[in-house]
Symmetry: C2
Subunit: 195 residues, 2 copies
Amino acid sequence: MARKQGSYADTTGPRVRDAALRLIAQHGFAAVSMRQIAGEVGVQAGALYNYIPDKQSLLFELLDSHMSEVMEAAAQARLSGTPLQRLEGFTRFHIRFHLPRRDAVFLSYMELRNLAPENFGRIAAKRRAYEDRLEMILRDGVADGSFVVDDTRITTLALIAQLTGITNWYDPAGRLTLREIETIYCALVRKSVAA
Amino acid sequence: MARKQGSYADTTGPRVRDAALRLIAQHGFAAVSMRQIAGEVGVQAGALYNYIPDKQSLLFELLDSHMSEVMEAAAQARLSGTPLQRLEGFTRFHIRFHLPRRDAVFLSYMELRNLAPENFGRIAAKRRAYEDRLEMILRDGVADGSFVVDDTRITTLALIAQLTGITNWYDPAGRLTLREIETIYCALVRKSVAA
């Protein structure tokens, strides 16, 4: 039975995004052409425009869907309990979510420079909303006396940079298992904000 | 009096590197041509090859000179005293050195992918030597009982990511002065490794 247009579109759209993510992470946004992405997916360059109107929309969609995914996954993680338990939950969630998405993390930092101002504003707002999840945990811990933090906003940015940095050096074949690394980071984060 | 060839070369070399750093940070290595760099500096494309044999050598030199500068500056900082005093000295040094060099920091993470394997190995070795300076402080603090650290290597990488991350969001016109930010990070780093 011939595949319907709809089902064809359903698989091609994600394949376009996967190919674009991989190519841009490898070569940089400015160096990757729509033609190159089409070639990687195996469609005519003209057909690509059925899925993505232009490169700027493509970049925005890649960064925006990454931020939407992390927000949705964080909401589903339903962190509960004491501020200390929620902090440990956030730490493990952040590491587990980002480590398998190194290309998307890489783009989210490196290619912000190539977003049009309006698109940049939308990504920045989503990023801020994600950071606010951690900051709320820190505020609650300060409020109930379980944490001592000089500045919850700066501490939020510092902890997120510390955790995301794992994507720069983590090697699955390395000295420590992911579980061991998580435990070391949990201890480090816990001590950073300890009362 | 006409400028001598030597003095001309002395100013053009640094100008080539400055222009290359700026252009690559803005557009990405793969998207920047030798011709574009020559145009930015105001020399003929052919003349550029007197200073830089090819783009790969240029990228290596940019990342290598950045690492040499940080190693030299760290050596000159002559951190001394107790492990805790050295840790605070390192924290302030790292922030002050890297914040005014955001383009170089950006390239040092984003363009590692474009280094030839041998060049990558040389940059990785220098980076490791710099990280070892912090790890030695942590080891000394663990040895004399002033620090408790689960894993000095992982903690080193975590702290460096935390500090370098400031380059992603620091705004000189922001809510806090650089001195205030430094003080917050010093407290955070100190607590992370506290006994």
